[in-house]
């Protein structure tokens, strides 16, 4: 059970956390959710194993699940915003049932739709997304207390016997960069990063 309430956790910064994640990566896949989440992933340094979403809000975890099922020997990270996850909460139940141990989900929770004008989400201040994940059957679900705890939870997820969900409270800053919006190039390079095909 989660004994740490969201409000006891440090408010961190999305770009800084994304940089910390990317710095420790080798050939792991990373799926970046719509908007600021993938802007910061792009800004942290492009790698062919990154997939950047340009729409379909809420599908970062399902897309990551598909990658994890197709390549069970590769670690897959999914970065998603709280507003996005609220659109597709049912996917957590699907992931809990299939239980891929190579999937690590990160929820960037600032309680707002930052990119549309910082309006509060319907869950802000009330719903606890980590508790929802726990209740959905993701036993390895926890809030990161601070940056070091985030890195510890990321490392821990690599040894987990099931999927992991990590909640991080973040500030209201916008994304740092802007992903180049070329969907075919993003997909081709990602498939190359996944070892599925060679670039032309």
């Amino acid at each position: 059970m989660t004994s740490t309430h969201a409000r006891n956790t440090k408010v961190m910064n999305r770009f800084e956390l994304t940089q910390r994640l990317v710095a420790g990566l080798k050939d792991e896949a990373v799926i970046g959710g719509i908007g600021n989440t993938n802007f910061d992933l792009w800004a942290a340094g492009h790698r062919p194993q990154n997939f950047y979403m340009l729409g379909s809000m809420g599908l970062a975890f399902p897309i990551a699940l598909g990658v994890a099922l197709a390549q069970p020997n590769r670690r897959v990270f999914a970065l998603e915003g709280d507003g996005s996850l609220l659109m597709q909460l049912g996917c957590i139940s699907t992931i809990a049932t299939l239980a891929p141990k190579n999937l690590t989900m990160v929820v960037m929770d600032n309680g707002i739709y930052q990119i549309t004008g910082a309006q509060p989400t319907p869950a802000a201040g009330h719903a606890d997304l980590v508790a929802i994940a726990l209740a959905s059957g993701i036993a390895n679900s926890s809030w990161a207390a601070d940056e070091d705890d985030f890195e510890r939870l990321i490392e821990q997820s690599k040894q987990a016997s099931g999927p992991t969900l990590i909640g991080v409270r973040i500030d209201d800053k916008p994304g740092t960069g802007t992903t180049r919006r070329d969907p075919v190039q993003i997909r081709e390079r990602f498939m190359n990063g996944m070892g599925v095909r060679q670039l032309l």
């Binding site: 699940l65 099922l69 197709a70 390549q71 597709q88 996917c91 070892g195």
Partner: protein
């Protein structure tokens, strides 16, 4: 109950003479292993047979767009998939088709059990059915309505191959003329 449906329940759907047996074998022949779905009464035997066959990784999702996300991710990582749904489920997909499958050129393969026509008893289903083909046409997406058992394998097999080679999504609409559909007494 349609003749094809009756034939299938006897031979567990594996027969090449039932519509769902043909769909299953066509999926297998095209190396489509991953089959997430949101269920439909008409798809019951197909779903049961997919679960019974260890070749397939098949499971329910909470929403159709979730299933589209899953097979899209899987395809980019080297595993082929297809999504099963009914008409009203397709109606939830315009956003993911327009922002993921079409622009990223992903060969999304969808089997849609058609409700809302040829004996529909629910007005809401009849109305939502009318949105399906205009949405597909508005995105210039390939789609076929399969009405005849003798054309099913040709259409499904060729359409899957075309989707993969042209990297374009396709919707295969399973008409009540093929499946028997869902009627008021069921």
């Amino acid at each position: 109950m349609a003749a094809a449906e009756q034939a299938s329940s006897k031979d567990k759907g594996q027969s090449a003479t039932s519509w769902h047996g043909i769909v299953l074998q066509t999926l297998k022949r095209n190396e489509i292993k991953l089959v997430p779905y949101v269920p439909d009464r008409v798809l019951t035997t197909l779903i049961k047979d997919l679960h019974a066959d260890p070749y397939f990784n098949t499971f329910p999702t909470a929403r159709e767009e979730e299933a589209v996300g899953i097979v899209s991710g899987a395809w980019m990582a080297g595993m082929r998939g297809a999504v099963l749904m009914q008409t009203s489920g397709f109606a939830t997909l315009a956003n993911v088709l327009a922002s993921l499958a079409v622009p990223y050129q992903i060969p999304l393969i969808m089997f849609v059990s058609e409700r809302g026509t040829l004996g529909e008893f629910n007005y809401g289903q009849a109305l939502v059915c009318r949105t399906m083909r205009p949405v597909l046409d508005s995105l210039a997406m390939e789609h076929h309505t399969i009405t005849r058992l003798d054309e099913l394998e040709f259409i499904a097999d060729r359409s899957i191959k075309q989707a993969v080679t042209t990297q374009a999504p396709v919707a295969l609409i399973l008409s009540p003329l093929l499946t028997g559909g869902k009627t008021f007494d069921k």
